[in-house]
């Protein structure tokens, strides 16, 4: 465990590293453009989008928002404990982050199962095209995040972990939070 301090005040060293932040901005811009496109399409087909939104259960969205925010809290706490060289708590919080990530996937699977059973597939209408593509793309990010965090969780037993590894992994996980915070109001609430 190596928690050497990094000067985050330097423009080249944001928490997580500049390369991770380039990825974060690329992702945010990609999702941002797609969501803005969804809003504009919603303006041209207001009835379709409103009626389709009513077919979604916003409770799933609210539960998943709370789950992801809680996992974000645990991730931030694990980074904090890592900086204090508190190995046991670091492991505990990383484990909880992964657990809440898995919980997010379970809730999402239940929601997808209900949609598939109702015949609301990709191609059903414009709203559901956006719904499936955006949420599935986000789910892929969550799965990748869980894989990264699992690597971190098991790697710490065998190799030395650097602070930059932990911060970069944390930044990726928080990026999943950020993307969801953009998706949730637009897909589940505003139409």
């Amino acid at each position: 465990m190596n928690s050497t301090t990094i000067n985050h005040k330097s423009i080249y060293y944001p928490p997580g590293g500049i390369l991770m932040w380039i990825i974060i901005y690329l992702e945010l811009i990609t999702f941002g453009i797609a969501l803005i496109a969804m809003v504009y399409m919603g303006d041209s087909e207001p009835e379709v989008f409103h009626n389709s939104k009513l077919l979604l259960n916003p409770t799933y969205g609210v539960i998943n928002t709370v789950v992801l925010l809680t996992s974000g809290l645990f991730m931030a706490l694990s980074t904090y404990e890592f900086k204090l060289n508190n190995n046991v708590k670091f492991k505990k919080y990383i484990g909880l982050t992964i657990l809440f990530g898995l919980l997010f996937l379970i809730v999402k699977s239940i929601e997808y199962y209900a949609k598939i059973n109702a015949g609301l597939y990709l191609g059903y209408n414009t709203f559901f095209n956006f719904y499936w593509l955006l949420t599935l793309f986000h789910v892929v990010h969550v799965i990748v995040g869980i894989v990264i965090l699992s690597t971190l969780y098991f790697k710490r037993k065998t190799k030395k972990l650097e602070l930059v590894d932990v911060e970069a992994s944390a930044a990726f996980w928080h990026m999943c939070d950020l993307i969801w915070l953009l998706l949730f109001p637009i897909i589940y609430l505003i139409f």
């Binding site: 005040k9 941002g32 931030a76 915070l181 109001p185 505003i190």
Partner: protein, 78 residues
Amino acid sequence: MKKQLLYTWIALIILTGIVSILSISSEYNIWIKMLILMVSLIKFIGVSFYFMEVKKAHIFWKFSIILFAALFLIISFL
């Protein structure tokens, strides 16, 4: 630090509740929709600044996050 993270999480959960309540009472009102998106972007900035520790970063990163949130809001309602 730990308390600050916990307070941030509580604030984010409360804001999620507010957004959910606002959406129930929306009635196609553009201002309510804008408010929902504004509150969601406050949550976005909260996660960035406190969980991702952007508040400790160079001003460029703070500014760019706020700029992204502002542009997203403005373009969505143009």
